[in-house]
Protein backbone atom coordinates (compact mmCIF):
# COMPACT_ATOMS: atom_id res chain seq x y z
CA UNK A 1 0.00 0.00 0.00
CA UNK A 2 0.98 3.65 0.41
CA UNK A 3 1.39 3.53 -3.32
CA UNK A 4 0.51 7.19 -3.71
CA UNK A 5 3.84 8.25 -2.28
CA UNK A 6 6.11 10.50 -4.29
CA UNK A 7 8.86 7.91 -4.48
CA UNK A 8 7.72 6.49 -7.78
CA UNK A 9 8.62 3.11 -6.43
CA UNK A 10 6.99 1.26 -9.31
CA UNK A 11 9.73 0.56 -11.81
CA UNK A 12 7.35 -0.25 -14.63
CA UNK A 13 4.38 2.04 -14.39
CA UNK A 14 4.43 1.81 -18.15
CA UNK A 15 3.01 -1.69 -17.88
CA UNK A 16 -0.12 -0.18 -16.37
CA UNK A 17 -0.64 2.05 -19.38
CA UNK A 18 0.20 -0.79 -21.75
CA UNK A 19 -2.46 -2.92 -20.11
CA UNK A 20 -5.12 -0.25 -20.44
CA UNK A 21 -4.10 0.36 -24.05
CA UNK A 22 -4.35 -3.36 -24.74
CA UNK A 23 -7.72 -3.54 -22.98
CA UNK A 24 -9.06 -0.75 -25.18
CA UNK A 25 -7.86 -2.51 -28.31
CA UNK A 26 -9.41 -5.79 -27.22
CA UNK A 27 -12.64 -4.04 -26.29
CA UNK A 28 -12.90 -2.40 -29.70
CA UNK A 29 -11.90 -5.57 -31.55
CA UNK A 30 -13.83 -8.26 -29.63
CA UNK A 31 -16.47 -6.34 -27.73
CA UNK A 32 -17.24 -6.42 -24.05
CA UNK A 33 -17.66 -10.19 -24.06
CA UNK A 34 -14.18 -10.72 -25.46
CA UNK A 35 -12.57 -8.50 -22.86
CA UNK A 36 -10.96 -11.23 -20.77
CA UNK A 37 -7.98 -10.98 -18.48
CA UNK A 38 -6.02 -13.47 -20.55
CA UNK A 39 -6.76 -11.72 -23.82
CA UNK A 40 -5.73 -8.34 -22.46
CA UNK A 41 -2.56 -9.71 -20.91
CA UNK A 42 -1.63 -11.47 -24.15
CA UNK A 43 -2.33 -8.30 -26.14
CA UNK A 44 -0.11 -6.33 -23.77
CA UNK A 45 2.59 -9.01 -23.79
CA UNK A 46 2.53 -9.66 -20.07
CA UNK A 47 1.32 -12.47 -17.85
CA UNK A 48 -2.31 -12.48 -16.69
CA UNK A 49 -1.02 -12.01 -13.16
CA UNK A 50 0.05 -8.51 -14.12
CA UNK A 51 -3.57 -7.43 -14.17
CA UNK A 52 -3.98 -8.43 -10.54
CA UNK A 53 -0.70 -6.82 -9.49
CA UNK A 54 -1.66 -3.52 -11.12
CA UNK A 55 -5.43 -3.31 -10.81
CA UNK A 56 -6.41 -5.81 -8.12
CA UNK A 57 -8.84 -7.66 -10.33
CA UNK A 58 -10.61 -7.46 -13.65
CA UNK A 59 -13.04 -4.83 -12.42
CA UNK A 60 -10.11 -2.55 -11.63
CA UNK A 61 -8.85 -2.88 -15.17
CA UNK A 62 -12.21 -2.16 -16.78
CA UNK A 63 -12.63 0.74 -14.35
CA UNK A 64 -9.43 2.19 -15.76
CA UNK A 65 -10.74 1.73 -19.29
CA UNK A 66 -14.04 3.33 -18.34
CA UNK A 67 -12.21 6.23 -16.72
CA UNK A 68 -10.46 6.87 -20.02
CA UNK A 69 -13.83 6.66 -21.72
CA UNK A 70 -15.30 9.33 -19.47
CA UNK A 71 -12.27 11.51 -20.12
CA UNK A 72 -12.78 11.08 -23.84
CA UNK A 73 -16.45 11.90 -23.54
CA UNK A 74 -15.66 15.02 -21.55
CA UNK A 75 -13.08 16.04 -24.14
CA UNK A 76 -15.48 15.41 -27.02
CA UNK A 77 -18.28 17.45 -25.52
CA UNK A 78 -15.87 20.26 -24.67
CA UNK A 79 -14.32 20.73 -28.08
CA UNK A 80 -16.58 23.52 -29.24
CA UNK A 81 -15.36 26.91 -30.40
CA UNK A 82 -18.64 28.60 -31.18
CA UNK A 83 -19.41 31.82 -29.38
CA UNK A 84 -23.13 31.70 -29.98
CA UNK A 85 -24.62 29.91 -26.95
CA UNK A 86 -27.22 28.01 -28.97
CA UNK A 87 -24.64 26.80 -31.46
CA UNK A 88 -22.39 25.81 -28.59
CA UNK A 89 -25.11 23.70 -27.00
CA UNK A 90 -25.96 22.12 -30.33
CA UNK A 91 -22.31 21.30 -30.96
CA UNK A 92 -22.09 19.79 -27.48
CA UNK A 93 -25.03 17.51 -28.19
CA UNK A 94 -23.74 16.52 -31.63
CA UNK A 95 -20.28 15.80 -30.28
CA UNK A 96 -21.83 13.63 -27.59
CA UNK A 97 -23.53 11.48 -30.21
CA UNK A 98 -20.44 11.43 -32.39
CA UNK A 99 -18.35 10.12 -29.52
CA UNK A 100 -20.88 7.39 -28.71
CA UNK A 101 -21.15 6.26 -32.33
CA UNK A 102 -17.37 6.32 -32.73
CA UNK A 103 -16.78 4.30 -29.55
CA UNK A 104 -19.90 2.17 -29.12
CA UNK A 105 -18.24 -0.50 -26.97
CA UNK A 106 -16.79 2.12 -24.65
CA UNK A 107 -20.12 3.89 -24.37
CA UNK A 108 -22.01 0.68 -23.73
CA UNK A 109 -19.57 -0.38 -21.05
CA UNK A 110 -19.63 3.07 -19.45
CA UNK A 111 -23.41 3.25 -19.13
CA UNK A 112 -24.33 -0.41 -19.23
CA UNK A 113 -25.62 -2.42 -16.31
CA UNK A 114 -22.09 -2.76 -15.05
CA UNK A 115 -22.01 0.73 -13.64
CA UNK A 116 -24.58 0.14 -10.95
CA UNK A 117 -22.75 -2.77 -9.36
CA UNK A 118 -19.43 -3.57 -10.98
CA UNK A 119 -17.73 -0.22 -10.71
CA UNK A 120 -19.12 2.23 -8.17
CA UNK A 121 -15.57 3.41 -7.71
CA UNK A 122 -15.14 6.91 -6.44
CA UNK A 123 -12.70 7.60 -9.24
CA UNK A 124 -15.28 6.72 -11.87
CA UNK A 125 -17.92 8.84 -10.20
CA UNK A 126 -15.47 11.74 -10.29
CA UNK A 127 -14.83 11.25 -14.00
CA UNK A 128 -18.55 11.10 -14.72
CA UNK A 129 -19.05 14.21 -12.65
CA UNK A 130 -16.29 15.99 -14.57
CA UNK A 131 -17.94 15.15 -17.87
CA UNK A 132 -21.26 16.32 -16.46
CA UNK A 133 -19.70 19.55 -15.27
CA UNK A 134 -18.60 20.31 -18.81
CA UNK A 135 -22.24 20.20 -19.81
CA UNK A 136 -23.28 22.29 -16.80
CA UNK A 137 -20.82 24.96 -17.88
CA UNK A 138 -22.33 25.09 -21.35
CA UNK A 139 -25.83 25.28 -19.91
CA UNK A 140 -24.80 28.14 -17.66
CA UNK A 141 -23.18 29.83 -20.64
CA UNK A 142 -26.48 29.53 -22.48
CA UNK A 143 -28.50 30.81 -19.53
CA UNK A 144 -26.26 33.82 -19.03
CA UNK A 145 -26.69 34.79 -22.66
CA UNK A 146 -30.42 34.26 -22.89
CA UNK A 147 -30.38 31.14 -25.04
CA UNK A 148 -31.87 29.12 -22.18
CA UNK A 149 -34.49 30.06 -19.62
CA UNK A 150 -32.78 30.95 -16.33
CA UNK A 151 -32.84 28.32 -13.61
CA UNK A 152 -30.73 25.70 -11.92
CA UNK A 153 -27.97 24.86 -14.42
CA UNK A 154 -27.37 21.43 -12.89
CA UNK A 155 -31.03 20.48 -13.09
CA UNK A 156 -31.27 21.64 -16.68
CA UNK A 157 -28.03 19.87 -17.56
CA UNK A 158 -29.31 16.65 -16.00
CA UNK A 159 -32.45 16.98 -18.09
CA UNK A 160 -30.47 17.46 -21.30
CA UNK A 161 -28.12 14.63 -20.40
CA UNK A 162 -31.06 12.28 -19.83
CA UNK A 163 -32.54 12.99 -23.23
CA UNK A 164 -29.28 12.88 -25.13
CA UNK A 165 -28.08 9.73 -23.38
CA UNK A 166 -31.40 8.03 -24.00
CA UNK A 167 -31.35 8.82 -27.70
CA UNK A 168 -27.78 7.63 -28.11
CA UNK A 169 -28.39 4.54 -25.99
CA UNK A 170 -31.42 3.50 -28.01
CA UNK A 171 -29.56 4.14 -31.26
CA UNK A 172 -26.65 1.96 -30.18
CA UNK A 173 -29.11 -0.73 -29.18
CA UNK A 174 -30.80 -0.64 -32.57
CA UNK A 175 -34.02 0.64 -31.03
CA UNK A 176 -34.49 3.77 -33.09
CA UNK A 177 -37.73 2.82 -34.81
CA UNK A 178 -37.81 5.86 -37.06
CA UNK A 179 -36.23 5.81 -40.53
CA UNK A 180 -33.50 8.36 -39.93
CA UNK A 181 -31.70 8.21 -36.60
CA UNK A 182 -29.67 11.35 -37.29
CA UNK A 183 -32.79 13.33 -38.12
CA UNK A 184 -34.52 12.08 -34.98
CA UNK A 185 -31.52 13.17 -32.94
CA UNK A 186 -31.57 16.62 -34.49
CA UNK A 187 -35.28 16.87 -33.73
CA UNK A 188 -34.54 15.93 -30.14
CA UNK A 189 -31.89 18.63 -29.81
CA UNK A 190 -34.24 21.19 -31.33
CA UNK A 191 -37.04 20.15 -28.99
CA UNK A 192 -34.69 20.53 -26.03
CA UNK A 193 -33.77 24.04 -27.10
CA UNK A 194 -37.45 24.87 -27.61
CA UNK A 195 -38.58 23.41 -24.30
CA UNK A 196 -35.83 25.09 -22.30
CA UNK A 197 -35.88 28.52 -23.86
Amino acid sequence: MTEGSAGGRTPSRAVEQALVDAAERVLVRDGLGGLTVRAVAAEAGVAPMGVYNRFGNKDGLVAAVLARGFDGLAAATSEDTDVDPTARLLACGRNYRRFALAHPQHYGAMFGPGLSQAAPTAELADRADAAFTALVDRVRYGMDRGALRPGDPRGTAQLIWSSVHGAVSLELGGLVLTPDAAASYEALLQMLLDGLR
Copy 2:
Protein backbone atom coordinates in the same frame (compact mmCIF):
# COMPACT_ATOMS: atom_id res chain seq x y z
CA MET B 1 -38.28 -27.67 -36.06
CA THR B 2 -41.87 -27.26 -37.23
CA GLU B 3 -42.53 -26.71 -33.57
CA GLY B 4 -45.36 -24.34 -34.25
CA SER B 5 -47.61 -27.16 -35.37
CA ALA B 6 -50.98 -27.60 -33.72
CA GLY B 7 -50.16 -31.07 -32.48
CA GLY B 8 -48.94 -29.85 -29.12
CA ARG B 9 -46.26 -32.46 -29.37
CA THR B 10 -44.37 -31.16 -26.36
CA PRO B 11 -45.64 -33.08 -23.36
CA SER B 12 -44.14 -30.68 -20.87
CA ARG B 13 -44.47 -27.21 -22.24
CA ALA B 14 -44.96 -26.31 -18.61
CA VAL B 15 -41.25 -26.84 -18.10
CA GLU B 16 -40.62 -23.96 -20.45
CA GLN B 17 -42.70 -21.62 -18.34
CA ALA B 18 -41.18 -22.99 -15.14
CA LEU B 19 -37.71 -22.23 -16.51
CA VAL B 20 -38.62 -18.66 -17.38
CA ASP B 21 -40.27 -18.23 -13.97
CA ALA B 22 -37.15 -19.55 -12.31
CA ALA B 23 -34.94 -17.32 -14.44
CA GLU B 24 -36.94 -14.28 -13.38
CA ARG B 25 -36.62 -15.22 -9.73
CA VAL B 26 -32.88 -15.77 -10.06
CA LEU B 27 -32.48 -12.51 -11.96
CA VAL B 28 -34.28 -10.54 -9.25
CA ARG B 29 -32.48 -12.35 -6.44
CA ASP B 30 -28.91 -12.54 -7.76
CA GLY B 31 -28.83 -9.97 -10.54
CA LEU B 32 -27.73 -10.41 -14.11
CA GLY B 33 -24.37 -11.83 -13.09
CA GLY B 34 -25.97 -14.58 -11.05
CA LEU B 35 -28.23 -15.63 -13.90
CA THR B 36 -26.44 -18.86 -14.83
CA VAL B 37 -27.84 -21.87 -16.60
CA ARG B 38 -27.16 -24.12 -13.64
CA ALA B 39 -28.75 -21.75 -11.14
CA VAL B 40 -31.89 -21.38 -13.24
CA ALA B 41 -32.17 -25.11 -13.83
CA ALA B 42 -31.73 -25.83 -10.12
CA GLU B 43 -34.32 -23.18 -9.25
CA ALA B 44 -36.74 -24.76 -11.71
CA GLY B 45 -35.92 -28.28 -10.51
CA VAL B 46 -34.74 -29.58 -13.88
CA ALA B 47 -31.41 -30.52 -15.37
CA PRO B 48 -29.29 -27.80 -17.00
CA MET B 49 -29.72 -29.61 -20.28
CA GLY B 50 -33.37 -28.63 -20.25
CA VAL B 51 -32.39 -25.07 -21.04
CA TYR B 52 -30.75 -26.20 -24.27
CA ASN B 53 -33.63 -28.47 -25.20
CA ARG B 54 -36.16 -25.66 -24.75
CA PHE B 55 -34.31 -22.50 -25.69
CA GLY B 56 -31.27 -23.60 -27.67
CA ASN B 57 -28.80 -21.83 -25.42
CA LYS B 58 -28.59 -19.36 -22.59
CA ASP B 59 -29.33 -16.44 -24.89
CA GLY B 60 -32.62 -18.05 -25.84
CA LEU B 61 -33.59 -18.26 -22.19
CA VAL B 62 -32.72 -14.68 -21.42
CA ALA B 63 -34.52 -13.65 -24.60
CA ALA B 64 -37.64 -15.27 -23.19
CA VAL B 65 -37.15 -13.38 -19.93
CA LEU B 66 -36.61 -10.16 -21.83
CA ALA B 67 -39.72 -10.80 -23.90
CA ARG B 68 -41.73 -11.01 -20.68
CA GLY B 69 -40.07 -7.82 -19.56
CA PHE B 70 -41.15 -5.99 -22.70
CA ASP B 71 -44.67 -7.32 -22.24
CA GLY B 72 -44.67 -6.04 -18.68
CA LEU B 73 -43.37 -2.67 -19.82
CA ALA B 74 -46.07 -2.44 -22.47
CA ALA B 75 -48.71 -3.38 -19.91
CA ALA B 76 -47.40 -0.85 -17.39
CA THR B 77 -47.39 2.02 -19.87
CA SER B 78 -50.86 1.07 -21.09
CA GLU B 79 -52.64 0.97 -17.75
CA ASP B 80 -53.97 4.50 -17.86
CA THR B 81 -57.62 5.40 -17.56
CA ASP B 82 -57.45 9.15 -17.86
CA VAL B 83 -59.45 10.76 -20.63
CA ASP B 84 -57.47 13.98 -20.63
CA PRO B 85 -54.71 13.51 -23.20
CA THR B 86 -52.09 15.39 -21.19
CA ALA B 87 -52.86 13.39 -18.05
CA ARG B 88 -52.72 10.21 -20.09
CA LEU B 89 -49.26 11.04 -21.42
CA LEU B 90 -48.05 11.99 -17.97
CA ALA B 91 -49.38 8.73 -16.53
CA CYS B 92 -47.67 6.86 -19.32
CA GLY B 93 -44.34 8.45 -18.47
CA ARG B 94 -44.76 7.92 -14.75
CA ASN B 95 -45.74 4.29 -15.22
CA TYR B 96 -42.66 3.79 -17.39
CA ARG B 97 -40.41 4.97 -14.58
CA ARG B 98 -42.36 3.01 -12.00
CA PHE B 99 -41.87 -0.19 -13.97
CA ALA B 100 -38.15 0.41 -14.37
CA LEU B 101 -37.66 1.15 -10.66
CA ALA B 102 -39.75 -1.86 -9.68
CA HIS B 103 -37.83 -4.20 -11.98
CA PRO B 104 -34.36 -2.72 -12.29
CA GLN B 105 -32.64 -5.98 -13.28
CA HIS B 106 -35.20 -6.63 -15.96
CA TYR B 107 -34.89 -3.11 -17.30
CA GLY B 108 -31.12 -3.20 -17.28
CA ALA B 109 -31.07 -6.50 -19.11
CA MET B 110 -33.65 -5.30 -21.63
CA PHE B 111 -31.77 -2.16 -22.60
CA GLY B 112 -28.25 -3.06 -21.58
CA PRO B 113 -25.40 -3.76 -23.95
CA GLY B 114 -26.78 -7.24 -24.47
CA LEU B 115 -29.49 -6.07 -26.79
CA SER B 116 -27.19 -4.98 -29.56
CA GLN B 117 -25.44 -8.31 -29.90
CA ALA B 118 -26.83 -11.00 -27.60
CA ALA B 119 -30.46 -10.90 -28.59
CA PRO B 120 -31.31 -9.35 -31.94
CA THR B 121 -34.10 -11.90 -32.13
CA ALA B 122 -37.04 -11.00 -34.29
CA GLU B 123 -39.35 -11.92 -31.44
CA LEU B 124 -37.70 -9.42 -29.12
CA ALA B 125 -37.83 -6.72 -31.76
CA ASP B 126 -41.53 -7.38 -32.09
CA ARG B 127 -42.09 -7.08 -28.36
CA ALA B 128 -40.15 -3.84 -28.24
CA ASP B 129 -42.14 -2.57 -31.18
CA ALA B 130 -45.39 -3.50 -29.43
CA ALA B 131 -44.38 -1.55 -26.33
CA PHE B 132 -43.38 1.35 -28.56
CA THR B 133 -46.71 1.20 -30.37
CA ALA B 134 -48.50 1.66 -27.07
CA LEU B 135 -46.66 4.94 -26.70
CA VAL B 136 -47.35 5.91 -30.31
CA ASP B 137 -51.06 5.41 -29.66
CA ARG B 138 -50.97 7.75 -26.69
CA VAL B 139 -49.04 10.33 -28.69
CA ARG B 140 -51.58 10.14 -31.49
CA TYR B 141 -54.34 10.45 -28.90
CA GLY B 142 -52.69 13.60 -27.63
CA MET B 143 -52.20 15.03 -31.12
CA ASP B 144 -55.79 14.41 -32.09
CA ARG B 145 -57.00 16.29 -29.03
CA GLY B 146 -54.62 19.20 -29.26
CA ALA B 147 -52.39 18.34 -26.31
CA LEU B 148 -49.46 17.82 -28.68
CA ARG B 149 -48.45 19.69 -31.78
CA PRO B 150 -49.54 17.73 -34.88
CA GLY B 151 -46.86 15.78 -36.67
CA ASP B 152 -45.48 12.30 -37.16
CA PRO B 153 -46.65 10.32 -34.11
CA ARG B 154 -43.84 7.78 -34.43
CA GLY B 155 -41.16 10.44 -34.57
CA THR B 156 -42.60 12.23 -31.57
CA ALA B 157 -42.98 8.96 -29.69
CA GLN B 158 -39.35 8.09 -30.44
CA LEU B 159 -38.33 11.45 -29.06
CA ILE B 160 -40.30 10.96 -25.87
CA TRP B 161 -39.01 7.41 -25.49
CA SER B 162 -35.43 8.61 -25.85
CA SER B 163 -35.80 11.16 -23.08
CA VAL B 164 -37.72 8.94 -20.72
CA HIS B 165 -35.45 5.98 -21.25
CA GLY B 166 -32.38 8.12 -20.73
CA ALA B 167 -33.68 9.53 -17.46
CA VAL B 168 -34.62 6.11 -16.14
CA SER B 169 -31.38 4.57 -17.34
CA LEU B 170 -29.25 7.19 -15.64
CA GLU B 171 -31.28 6.88 -12.46
CA LEU B 172 -30.83 3.12 -12.34
CA GLY B 173 -27.11 3.62 -12.90
CA GLY B 174 -26.88 6.07 -10.03
CA LEU B 175 -25.99 8.91 -12.39
CA VAL B 176 -28.71 11.36 -11.43
CA LEU B 177 -26.50 14.11 -10.08
CA THR B 178 -29.37 16.26 -8.85
CA PRO B 179 -30.72 15.93 -5.31
CA ASP B 180 -34.20 14.67 -6.15
CA ALA B 181 -34.47 12.14 -8.95
CA ALA B 182 -38.27 12.10 -8.89
CA ALA B 183 -38.43 15.86 -9.20
CA SER B 184 -35.97 15.81 -12.08
CA TYR B 185 -38.10 13.22 -13.81
CA GLU B 186 -41.22 15.32 -13.37
CA ALA B 187 -39.36 18.31 -14.77
CA LEU B 188 -38.37 16.21 -17.76
CA LEU B 189 -41.96 15.18 -18.42
CA GLN B 190 -43.11 18.77 -18.12
CA MET B 191 -40.38 19.94 -20.48
CA LEU B 192 -41.43 17.30 -23.00
CA LEU B 193 -45.03 18.48 -22.88
CA ASP B 194 -43.89 22.08 -23.23
CA GLY B 195 -41.53 21.38 -26.10
CA LEU B 196 -44.03 19.28 -28.03
CA ARG B 197 -47.15 21.38 -27.57
